[in-house]
């Protein structure tokens, strides 16, 4: 029952939000309380997983290969905790004010639907169910993105919808082919049955289909164009939700499916993924340097840093995978924080165009210093969490003799420092452009808009202080991912004979 709660609680909150009288203060409180409950259960799941190992829930008590299974191993538990943290921050940021029209159209319950879909994708142990959760979170995010009517926002929404539906069609195709060969949909059962049944041709086709489907969702190199074209238009809180969670669901699904179904480190798909990850980093950061809008710079940085999170899977060693998981956790926190920071600019200047920003350090030094932490953490300046995560990603490359890759990664890190320093300089440090009126400059930012940012920055600092224990945890999570037999045994029980086709 415990494992179903991160899915059921947001659903319940969404329903309650529809039934309540539509007064914004009440709705915000209920949504916030709902996310706090989810955070509580997520933390409890995490503690239980740490103590007792992989948790399994057979939904409806159907035995494993026949029903839908919910599974929480260490990786899932860490991701669930992160999702609920970002859920709390995003729902809290609505206290600072939401466009009343969006609120009337169901803004709060849509956020809960997205959170439910993400939690479902992280917890499911069934590949078709994974597809269904992808659709749930996509529909929620589609509606969130298209609640607006400006031309740029509609265009962004259409790009987003079209490409994500294409990815879903590819995923469905791959699942259909997989079922045709293996005769099961349960991930653990597939992990046992598929490697025996595969043929080289089918293996290549399926792995490329999965790579394309998850690559579009994660934002890998040739498939990322929808992301910078759409993430800069929605309001800051929605941007924070989508940027922090959706690409990471793609990365999570990629790691989960590939470690279970393609356990051959020499497979050509991993060489493809390695090259794509490296190109993603380079292209993302070069793209970021060319942009003149705070949120567009962030979107390109988001793309570039996805490369850091997939490279560990491509290298296929516990240390590299652990480093990538640590990077995912750090990146979710920091990129959400930065999208929330962009909300400050929208509040004060009604734009995130860097040409119109500036002078914020003079008017509000404390806020500027607060924003400095996530910016430099993303850049990987020691001792912040980004540095720790980058060390976790790069060290295995050096140990494994991948010097060229390590050099590329380090150069990309340097570009990130440049990009982040430029952001801070343009948005906070340089003198304000004359056009902005003095009243806008000196309007104080209220506590409600700052509190979620402070909360997330505090967690980034905590991740920095407790980097040792956390990286031990992610190493253990990676070890669990690469040890398929424990996963299979936890779900299917002791040495059950394989389900006959």
């Amino acid at each position: 029952m415990l494992l179903a709660l991160p899915i059921l609680l947001p659903l319940l909150t969404a329903i309650v939000l529809h039934l309540l009288p539509q007064r914004s203060r009440l709705l915000r409180l209920v949504a916030f309380a709902g996310s706090l409950f989810v955070l509580g259960t997520a933390a409890f799941i995490f503690v239980r997983v740490q103590q007792t190992g992989i948790l399994v829930l057979q939904v409806g008590s159907w035995p494993a290969p026949f029903g839908i299974t919910l599974v929480a191993d260490l990786f899932s538990a860490l991701m669930i905790v992160m999702v609920s943290v970002i859920g709390v921050a995003v729902t809290a940021s609505s206290f600072a004010g939401v466009d009343p029209r969006r609120e009337a159209l169901g803004y709060h319950s849509l956020i809960q639907v997205v959170l439910m879909g993400v939690a479902g994708a992280f917890l499911t142990g069934d590949i078709f169910n994974l597809y269904v959760w992808f659709e749930v979170l996509l529909i929620g995010s589609f509606v969130l993105m298209s609640l607006h009517r400006t031309r740029a926002q509609l265009r962004a929404a259409f790009t987003y919808v079209g490409l994500n539906l294409l990815a879903s069609a590819f995923l469905l195709t791959a699942i259909g082919l997989l079922y045709g060969q293996a005769g099961t949909l349960n991930l653990a059962d597939l992990a046992r049955a598929w490697p025996e049944r595969r043929t080289p041709g089918l293996d290549a086709a399926l792995s490329m289909l999965f790579l394309t489907a998850f690559g579009i969702k994660a934002g890998l190199f040739p498939l990322f164009f929808w992301l910078p074209a759409s993430y800069h238009t929605p309001p800051a809180a929605v941007g924070a939700l989508l940027a922090g969670l959706l690409t990471k669901v793609g990365v999570y699904a990629m790691i989960r499916v590939f470690t279970l179904l393609f356990p051959d480190p020499d497979a050509s798909v991993y060489r493809v993924l390695l090259v794509l990850s490296a190109i993603t980093m380079v292209v993302g950061l070069i793209g970021a340097l060319a942009q003149r809008d705070f949120r567009r710079v962030l979107s390109f940085n988001l793309v570039g840093h996805i490369g850091f999170t997939t490279v560990g899977l491509a290298l296929w060693s516990p240390a590299a995978l652990g480093g990538s998981i640590l990077y995912v956790l750090h990146h979710m926190l920091v990129i959400s924080t930065l999208f929330l920071v962009s909300g400050l600019f929208l509040r004060q200047r009604r734009t995130t165009d860097l040409n119109a920003l500036g002078g914020l350090y003079r008017s509000q030094p404390a806020v500027a210093c607060l924003a400095l932490i996530p910016l430099f953490s993303l850049a990987g300046v020691p001792p912040l969490s980004g540095f720790v995560a980058k060390v976790g990603v790069i060290t295995p490359m050096l140990v494994g003799g991948q010097y060229l890759l390590a050099a590329v990664t380090l150069c990309v890190s340097l570009l990130t420092v440049l990009s982040m320093a430029r952001l801070w300089d343009e948005a906070f440090w340089k003198p304000a452009p004359v056009a902005s009126s003095a009243s806008a400059l000196h309007s104080r930012l209220a506590l409600p808009i700052l509190a979620p940012i402070v909360f997330l920055v505090g967690l980034t600092l905590a991740l920095t202080v407790f980097a040792g224990p956390v990286s031990t945890l992610t190493m253990r999570a990676a070890g669990q991912l690469l040890d398929r037999n424990t996963y299979i045994r936890a779900i299917l029980g002791e040495e059950v004979p394989r389900a006959a086709r």
Binding site: V132, G162, Y179, G180
Partner: protein, 113 residues
Amino acid sequence: MELLLAVVAGVLYAAGLYLMLRRRLAQLIIGLSLLSNGSNILILSAAGVTRAKPPLITEGHPLEQFADPVPQSLILTAIVIGFGVLAFSLVLAHRVHQSTGSDDIDTIGPDRA
């Protein structure tokens, strides 16, 4: 039969992808629905097309006589999801047309916010 279904699925994929490359939103949406129908047919044919009884399993009959119900339930789920998504994207396209008077993605507006 399987060959025919395979060809149909292939044609649907090709037509769907071609339509998705067009600039008009209506064609993009038709392309998406062709693509999802193509993947439904692919699931059906990949899981094996057999002449068998409906899977209302009774005692005394060997299991080989019954068809596998799972691919059909997968397709049913996928059809329901595809229908919802199609309805949503039609509404979105309608709203784009309302606010811009065009359904050409390049004339909707500048890329910048």
